[in-house]
């Protein structure tokens, strides 16, 4: 038995202190994932400990959302509520949004500005670094009651989350043994983050979407290039994205993270792939107002659609001129909430800003492209109810490997990569 440490991600490892694996992973490996991981409450509870409190870096928020001293933003790591603050010196901190006294949530508002974080329940007051600064009636009333003499404020700080900011994205981890953020991400992921976040951004709004499926079904979906141009009829019909465009997938960190991308100007037609009665191309349909899909080529690499999926639960998306981060918050084995942060650049012209907002009809809970994802995970969740203990999903498109394929997106390597990370952390 060997405890997980970065660099030893051998599937099948078990974790010290575990009596026996929670389930037997199919011997063929990551071309299968047992359906049970999508509904089992015990596995769900272990994920909170081993993945979200394990050696992972979790996207929290953008620096642009806490621009000034005293501003804060609430976020989640797995189920755990977190506060991200900027202190008076400009430093960024994150801590669990839970009073060290009785466990009440400190900040209910999603964002705001505070000098101190005061618990509404008994008034315990913390500074913006999460240090306990004051306890009401600590010395009692009229010499009676109060905390014992030895009560030490420094022993009751908020639980700390380690943070690192990279190109204005703030990531957090509970683990003291997590790799440095940049090692965790890997070179291809870093390149892509720097591509999108190379200049100051401006948040244009949020969406919050409840999905009636396990959080992993959404993460699988987000990195699945196979479904993209089939389920999402809008993509293929209006030629926003087809596998017959130049494109590919890139993976990092043994496939834990991935990007799939396509270049709209390189579409090849007439090859037959989308002309053979495939469901995803609707004949005789047009847009009454085609200005919806007018786009500006913003990036000189020619990429028009790129979905970056960071393990465990963050997605950085570009669909035409829509830019957004999506973060999945698990809410029990059978539900999760998708938080969308839609942004542009601070130096956008009014025309480009309007173009982004018009194209926002493509994404979010009512997006022509993403509507379908709102329900497809639920269809899986309902479909796998009652399945036998050995029943598994199949992921053999593109072979059995987990590797980048710069020339092809007819693959499920990115999903196999997700399960590689999952197995390593979960000891399955």
């Amino acid at each position: 038995m060997r405890q997980y440490t970065p660099g030893s991600r051998t599937p099948g490892d078990t974790i010290v202190g575990m009596k026996e694996p929670l389930l037997e992973w199919p011997a063929v490996g990551v071309t299968r994932s047992p359906y049970r991981v999508m509904s089992d409450p015990e596995i769900y509870a272990q994920e909170q400990q081993r993945i979200f409190r394990g050696p992972t870096w979790n996207y929290l928020c953008l620096e642009a959302e806490i621009p000034h001293p005293g501003t804060f933003r609430t976020a989640f790591i797995g189920e755990t509520p977190v506060i991200v603050t900027r202190d008076k010196e400009g430093g960024i901190h994150a801590m669990v949004n839970r009073c060290a006294h009785k466990g009440a949530m400190l900040c209910v508002d999603p964002c705001g500005k505070r000098d101190t974080l005061v618990c509404p329940y008994h008034g315990w007051a913390y500074d913006l670094q999460g240090k306990l600064r004051g306890v009401p009636f600590q010395h009692g009333v009229a010499g009676k009651g109060g905390m014992p003499d030895g009560f030490d404020l420094t022993q009751h700080n908020l639980e700390r989350v380690h943070v690192q900011s990279f190109y204005g994205l703030i990531f957090g981890t509970f683990s003291t043994t997590a790799e440095p953020l940049q090692t965790y991400l890997g070179p291809a992921m870093i390149d892509h983050i720097s591509r999108v976040f190379h200049k100051p951004i401006e948040v244009l709004g949020y969406h919050h979407q409840v999905l009636h499926n396990n959080w992993k079904l959404y993460m699988e979906n987000s990195r699945d290039p196979y479904h993209a141009t089939i389920l999402h009829t809008f993509y293929a019909t209006f030629k926003l994205n087809r596998l017959t465009m130049d494109g590919g997938i890139l993976v990092d960190h043994d496939g834990w993270h991935s990007i799939n991308y396509s270049k709209g100007a390189t579409l090849r037609e007439g090859g037959g792939e989308y002309e053979s009665g495939i469901r995803s191309v609707v004949e005789d349909v047009g847009l009454a107002d085609p200005s919806l899909i007018h786009r500006k080529q913003e990036f000189d690499d020619g990429i028009t659609v790129a979905i970056q999926s960071l393990f465990p639960s963050c997605v950085n998306q570009q669909i035409y001129n829509t830019l957004a981060l999506r973060n999945v918050v698990p809410q029990g084995p059978l539900q999760c909430e998708l938080h969308w942060t839609f942004f542009g650049y601070r130096d956008d012209t009014p025309e480009l800003r309007e173009m982004r907002l018009k194209q926002s009809n493509l994404i979010g809970p009512a997006g022509y492209v993403s509507i379908d994802d709102g329900v497809i995970g639920e269809y899986v969740q309902r479909g796998i109810a009652g399945t036998g203990i050995d029943a598994s999903a199949v992921m053999e498109m593109g072979g059995h490997e987990v590797a980048s394929t710069p020339g092809s997106r007819a693959t499920e390597a990115t999903l196999r990569g997700f399960w590689t990370g999952y197995r390593a952390l979960m000891g399955l």
Binding site: G205, V210, H212, V285, V375, E378
Partner: protein
């Protein structure tokens, strides 16, 4: 002064609006708007903070027609229907030839399998123009109280 006849015309427009949606005659829905209309669904969260992102953001009647095309021919979702309740209509003035109105809405969504829920509640902020052929929405901003949308939104509110 807004006379009773205008008020009744506006109430009638609201009724035709919810009939088109609730009776699944969505093809009749775009014609209730002017050619150069605005129809947006915003969450209270974004609206109050002055953030421009909308859940649905249509800036022409053509974009409304495209929403109907999307729903009929393109998107994948579980069959569902709405029942609107509208109340509290106030007529708040006339601006550039358009009547400004506000009303409350409540939408109960029923899924094919029978699950029923309050899907959305909020307000309509309208600008209605009185054309010779009848009143039409020049602008309808739907402000949903909840920031959260359950599963997906495909039928307009």
């Amino acid at each position: 002064m807004i006379d009773e006849i205008v008020r009744r015309q506006i109430e009638d427009l609201h009724t035709r609006y919810i009939r088109a949606i609730d009776d699944d005659r969505l093809e009749h829905w775009p014609a209730l708007f002017t050619e150069q209309c605005v129809y947006k669904i915003m969450t209270r969260e974004n609206y109050d903070r002055g953030l421009p992102l909308a859940v649905m953001d249509c800036r022409s009647r053509g974009m409304l027609e495209d929403r109907v095309t999307g729903l009929r021919k393109i998107n994948v979702f579980e069959p569902q229907r709405y029942l609107h309740q509208i109340c509290g209509l106030s007529i708040d003035g006339i601006e550039d030839g358009a009547v400004r109105c506000r009303s409350n809405y409540l939408v109960v969504r029923t899924m094919a399998e029978g699950a029923m829920s309050i899907f959305s509640a909020g307000i309509y902020l309208d600008r209605i123009v009185l054309e010779p052929s009848g009143p039409r929405f020049e602008e309808r901003i739907v402000i949903a109280d909840s920031r959260r949308i359950d599963t997906l939104l495909v039928i307009p509110l």
